[in-house]
């Protein structure tokens, strides 16, 4: 079974600085997707970024980028120029690329609570 681990329960960053959130996962599959979701106090889960395992190039979305190390099964999220609105719980998630395998359900890590100091 696949597992996702986020080893940092809490992180803090100064506004305008850069922060990196860690995520590792375990799988025997060769093709899968990895996601970072943001959950502010409103509870709404917001997709931040997606990485396809078959792509070597790291995904980037504006101030958000990932460092995907497939061999090490590591998938970290870097937030540049942190803003107060980035404060939230961040979840790393795994999904098999084979829909017939587990139906595409997401497997989540325990989350990292990010605070941004003004």
């Amino acid at each position: 079974a696949q597992t996702v681990t986020q080893s940092q329960p809490e992180m803090s960053v100064q506004e305008a600085e850069t922060v990196t959130l860690s995520c590792t996962y375990d799988t025997s599959e060769s093709d899968y997707y990895l996601f970072w979701y943001k959950q502010p106090p409103s509870r709404q889960m917001i997709l931040v970024i997606r990485q396809e395992a078959y792509k070597q190039q790291n995904a980037t979305e504006n101030r958000f980028s990932v460092n995907f190390q497939k061999a090490a099964k590591s998938f970290s999220l870097k937030i540049s120029d942190s803003q107060l609105g980035d404060a939230a719980m961040y979840f790393c998630a795994y999904r098999s690329a084979f829909i017939n395998n587990q139906g595409g359900k997401l497997i989540f890590g325990q989350g990292t609570e990010l605070s941004v100091k003004p």
């Binding site: 997707y33 996601f35 509870r43 999904r95 829909i99 587990q102 997401l106 989540f108």
Partner: protein, 113 residues
């Protein structure tokens, strides 16, 4: 609608009562998922619907939990004889994109007294 909606937003119930939670997915999305999020925890998969196929119920924690979905529309999650350990936020997501991104509703916070 523009996004996934869920109702009620909050539900307080007494131990032993039954509750029904509702999810309206994004129009056209064929897949629908229910997750449970306990306080300070990640999301746990409960059940998955894909079109008219038999649902994947592998995540349901006990036979007190059940869910229904009619076609590709609304889904209801029912918890019978609620227990205090059922207190959590119940999140619904629907999916229909190429990469299967799941779009989440705002959740229902269930409190069992």
């Amino acid at each position: 609608g523009a996004g996934v909606s869920q109702s009620p937003s909050n539900k307080v119930t007494e131990k032993g009562k039954d509750v029904e939670l509702r999810c309206d997915p994004i129009s056209g999305h064929t897949a629908l998922y229910w997750y449970r999020q306990r306080l300070g925890q990640g999301l746990e998969f409960l059940i998955y619907f894909q079109g008219n196929s038999a649902p994947d119920k592998s995540g349901l924690p006990s036979d007190r939990f059940s869910a229904e979905r009619t076609g590709e529309s609304v889904s209801t999650l029912t918890i019978q004889r609620t227990q205090q350990e059922d207190s959590a936020v119940y999140l619904c997501a629907s999916s229909g994109g190429i990469f299967g991104e799941q779009f989440f509703g705002p959740g229902t916070r269930l409190t069992v007294l």
